[in-house]
């Protein structure tokens, strides 16, 4: 059956759980999106922008030295790090930005964790001549300083959020509050396959180009399908972006969550591995929550995975068994970051490094006729200072 249903449900997940002030806006948005998605001119503009502005299609790159290092399966990289502004996030912000313009909205707002979605929204706002406010947890502002500077250069106003744990979930809370007060002329560009319907569906649709291309590219190289697709999952937009094209194929789909300091500690962000169903930020999905239904603080080395929820379609894919979800620790991700940098000359984002670590782990157990595609969702320039500090503190621990 086509997911989601008419009310935005993916099986028992998804739906619309927001205050009444926002309900008319998300109903209006859904109607506007369905109309735009059926409009050839809108789709042509979206695709044209992806080709000439974003630089799509991004390459599907065979990682020869990484594959030899892993010593088993062949590893392929879908190079979203080469998309304009440095990550897959731009695919979605181009789509939502064009939709906002079409709806006559004047202002864009966004939440951001690692800053990639904030940068991608600020980029599109500049391109379309719209103004832009980005809500970002104060802790993330500190961890991701280069992206804050980029957003400001692009003309966006970055609003540090100090409530709660001062990370991505709090940025999203504050963006929702701000949107409640400005809903008439403001478009909320949500960056993941989360939030109330229609966002999980719409963001997936704008991101599915990743998998559509990867499938075509892999078939062209190999005249067969890959065995496994792997991608990191915070909210889960790059994962659904690459999974969607393969849903009906006999291809394993493997999401990778952040195990932080370990799944058996309190410091992780592995929502599907360790959470329970609940409602946060407008939809029903898995959540990290305590026994009373209060949301727990997640933890990850990477700001983009540091989120206590997950897109509702992932919860559905987990429960239906179509996709499986593993987890990778901070240390494993950091190792994968260095390995890819040295072996292939590609500096990956710490988020994407989780998918890489999982691919290396899987490849080791397989033979060379097995093929794994990794969604390399973003580049690591934003993480350089953070990685430098982490590496320095590790060295001093060893001493």
């Amino acid at each position: 059956m086509q997911q989601p249903d008419i009310n935005g449900h993916f099986g028992p997940f998804g739906g619309r759980y927001v205050g009444e002030t926002l309900m008319p806006a998300i109903i209006e948005l859904e109607a506007a999106y369905r109309e735009a998605a059926a409009d050839k001119n809108f789709i042509a503009t979206y695709q044209d922008t992806l080709t000439h502005y974003v630089g799509r299609p991004t390459p599907l790159d065979y990682a020869q030295r990484l594959s030899i290092y892993a010593g088993g399966a062949q590893i392929w990289l879908k190079r979203e790090d080469l998309a304009h502004s440095g990550a897959h996030k731009i695919n979605n912000t181009v789509g939502q930005g064009l939709l906002a313009k079409r709806m006559g909205k004047k202002h864009l707002i966004a939440e951001t964790g690692a800053g990639q979605h904030g940068v991608a929204t600020a980029t599109v706002a500049a391109r379309l001549g719209m103004d832009c406010k980005v809500f970002m947890g104060a802790e993330d502002v500190r961890r991701q300083a280069p992206n804050v500077h980029r957003m400001e250069l692009l003309g966006a106003e970055v609003i540090p959020v100090t409530s709660g744990t001062a990370t991505l979930k709090d940025a999203m809370n504050e963006a929702l509050r701000y949107w409640s007060a400005t809903v008439a002329d403001t478009f909320y560009v949500i960056g993941s396959v989360a939030g109330p319907h229609p966002y999980p569906m719409m963001v997936r649709d704008f991101q599915r180009i990743i998998g559509d291309e990867a499938r075509r590219q892999f078939l062209a190289f190999n005249a067969k399908l890959p065995n496994t697709i792997t991608a990191c999952v915070g909210g889960g937009s790059n994962a659904l972006g690459i999974f969607t094209a393969f849903l009906d194929d006999p291809v394993e789909l493997l999401g990778v969550e952040a195990a932080g300091e370990g799944l058996d500690t309190m410091r992780h962000a592995a929502t599907l591995n360790r959470g329970r169903p609940g409602v946060l930020h407008g939809s029903k999905s898995y959540l990290l929550q305590d026994k009373d239904g209060q949301i727990l603080e997640p933890w990850s080395i990477s700001a983009g995975l540091d989120y206590p929820g997950v897109g509702p379609e992932h919860a559905y894919l987990k429960e239906s068994g179509r996709a499986s979800y593993t987890a990778v620790s901070d240390d494993e991700a950091l190792d994968a970051f260095h390995i890819l940098t040295r072996l292939e000359g590609i500096i990956p984002a710490l988020e994407s490094s989780h998918a890489l670590a999982s691919a290396i782990r899987e490849a080791r157990q397989r033979d060379r006729n097995n093929h794994i595609i990794v969604c390399l969702s973003g580049r690591g320039d934003k993480d350089l200072t953070h990685v430098q500090q982490l590496t320095a503190s590790k060295k001093s621990e060893v001493k």
């Binding site: 009310n7 739906g15 619309r16 759980y17 927001v18 205050g19 009444e20 002030t21 926002l22 309900m23 008319p24 806006a25 109903i27 409530s163 709660g164 979930k169 809370n173 929702l176 509050r177 409640s180 007060a181 400005t182 809903v183 008439a184 329970r276 169903p277 609940g278 409602v279 946060l280 930020h281 407008g282 029903k284 959540l287 929550q289 026994k291 009373d292 239904g293 209060q294 949301i295």
Partner: protein, 265 residues
């Protein structure tokens, strides 16, 4: 007749408006919270909304977010709020009591057992701020024959055709949000509000009460004339917090002043 119907019938025959108070339950702890709420009810509150503290209150402004954080730091839970409701029920046999919550604590509690627990505590209704009519069937179908109405909200942004959907299946009263934005904020457009209340009246026989950002006796007097009652939340929560140990007395004085303004319409 349930307690909502009795309360509104009595107010109506006395030509008075309902004064509805919201407090974050358990702020700063359950013991102090009981004393403040009990005093407020004695001073002239007609209906009491007990706010269930939630870690991610996306419809609330800073005052209620901070109150929720204090309550959670002192161990507030939904069960604790229901226990508080039972104590208030014993002290105020005729007062309608509403549990006001975000959906996640409710869902986490277990929808199957919730109705019976609320009923046993003497709770009269439920308001779930992030549960629109489109998603509420999974909850209400669990209530069976229990008289536990869902109080629903209409916003300044709600178009007339949607009011019908909201009114259908609503109970107790309708909460008409007076301003765009979160609790305790925003600017008031009286003419637009009067239009919205008039429009809503076409779709429901239920009492219409106005809330969000009402803080002073003057606000109460002005808005009371537009509807069947008014709801005050953030202003009382802030007052109780600032008053510290004096909260019961100071909140009671403010409630009495608002009551007087509302009655001299």
């Amino acid at each position: 007749m349930n307690r909502f119907e009795k309360t509104f019938a009595a107010l109506s025959s006395a030509n008075r408006k309902a004064l509805i108070a919201y407090f974050t339950a358990g702020d700063p702890d359950m013991h102090s919270s009981f004393a403040t709420l009990d005093a407020a009810c004695k001073a002239g509150v007609d209906i009491l909304e007990l706010g269930v503290p939630f870690s991610d209150a996306t419809s609330d402004g800073p005052v209620i977010q901070a109150a929720a954080s204090r309550a959670l730091a002192n161990g507030a839970t939904l069960q604790g709020v229901i226990d508080l409701a039972a104590r208030l029920r014993a002290a105020h046999p005729d007062l309608p009591l509403v549990i006001f919550s975000y959906y996640n604590p409710i869902l986490n509690f277990g929808l199957e057992r919730l109705g019976a627990v609320l009923d046993a505590a003497g709770v009269d209704g439920l308001l779930i701020v992030d549960l629109p009519p489109e998603e509420s069937a999974e909850l209400t179908t669990q209530f069976g024959d229990l008289d536990l109405p869902l109080i629903r909200l209409v916003a300044p942004t709600t178009p007339p055709q949607r009011m019908a959907t909201i009114a259908d299946g609503a109970g107790g009263f309708i909460y008409l949000i007076t301003r765009i934005g979160v609790t305790g904020s925003g600017t008031l457009d009286i003419a637009a509000l009067a239009r919205q209340a008039g429009e809503l009246r076409k779709f429901t026989p239920l009492p219409i009460c106005l809330g969000f950002g009402i803080s002073t006796a003057a606000d109460a007097r002005q808005l009371g004339s537009l509807a069947d009652g008014i709801i005050i939340g953030s202003a009382l929560v802030a007052l109780a917090h600032e008053a510290g140990e004096q909260a019961p007395q100071i909140v009671a004085e403010r409630v009495a002043a608002i009551r007087a303004a509302l009655d001299h319409n």
